[in-house]
Symmetry: C2
């Protein structure tokens, strides 16, 4: 593991991305070390040199993702946004920006939730716990609903936006190109349209 840390950052991220992609795409058991080595353009032996075993590599990735998530979650930036739509937009932007440089984390994280291999089952909590925390803080607040023409619509609209975010993620999962800026632009426009039609006149700035 210290052997791995001695590498240049570029080489490290190449290897981590390859591993995240393979595990994310195939799951723990079906992803082979050879798959990862080929994707990272290094030899299979090097992977074992760096991480010792397949299981150690997987656990390293879980902890790596946990740290990344902790890093991007800026509670203050979110709390300062008092408006529901602004808050969703801000958190999405934060998320997207970080995934722009870490393109395979998203599918890896979602694959962890479906992982069933007994080899790593008891290690999954490293990540699942953290992602839960992340989601729980992006929450609908009581006074958000008051801005709606029909306050009872606030909950469903919030759920719809979460659903749409999952739709975006699903649409581009596995795709080799992902134009983040276009997606965010699209999402921003959708949010603007929803706000315009659901908010009372007085809250349309």
């Amino acid at each position: 593991m210290d052997k791995f840390l001695a590498l240049t950052e570029e080489k490290r991220t190449t290897i981590l991305n390859a591993a995240l992609q393979c595990f994310g795409k195939f799951g723990y058991e079906k992803a082979s070390i050879n798959d990862i080595a080929v994707a990272a353009h290094i030899s299979k032996a090097s992977v074992f040199q760096y991480f010792g075993s397949k299981k150690h590599l997987y656990i390293y990735l879980l902890e790596y993702c946990k740290k990344i998530i902790e890093g991007i979650f800026d509670k203050e930036a979110l709390d300062s946004q008092t408006d529901l739509f602004d808050r969703i937009m801000t958190s999405s932007k934060i998320e997207m920006e970080s995934f722009k440089t870490q393109p395979f984390i998203l599918q890896f994280i979602s694959s962890v939730w479906e992982e069933t291999s007994p080899d790593v089952l008891d290690s999954l909590a490293i990540l699942t716990e953290e992602t839960c925390k992340f989601r729980n803080d992006m929450i609908l607040r009581e006074d958000d609903a008051l801005k709606f023409k029909n306050p009872e619509d606030a909950g469903p609209v919030f759920q719809m936006l979460l659903l749409m975010a999952e739709g975006y993620a699903a649409r581009y999962r596995g795709a080799d190109t992902f134009d983040f800026d276009t997606v965010m632009d699209d999402f921003q426009k959708n949010i603007a349209i929803l706000r315009k039609n659901f908010y009372k006149e007085e809250y349309l700035k």
Copy 2:
């Protein structure tokens, strides 16, 4: 293949579902005949008895899904719906009802779009062509926009609904339980809320 058709319908669907699930989950190369045999509670040899080879089985599934899609696509039922939201709701209902009895078709179809194995690459069109046709007919029509308070919102709202449908699919992909009725109920409520807030008063019957 006639050996397979001689089986009882129950046994046939068990085997097909197992195969759809494995190929859908792992992709062509990573899914093994043994995986499928275990999931179907039959022996590996039987799979070869029924289908001859792994490739033949995969192609059989492609054609099987094609037929199912052709079957559920009821053009008349859609054309008779003049309202955008009604049309989306109707097509979603048709889709959901059929997937209720064919729970693994959805993830199999979406996996086909990501398939890259050269063994089956030239056979994928069997299904991809058909699913394209299916989607192209669920289209936004010119006069739909006229019912909107802001006609330019019609396109984005339509896209949002498609996105949400993908979100639902993604959320329950791989999950072993999927309460179709609850999901449809949820979707219906969302559609009603959107309609209420986006349509001109005069179109809210």
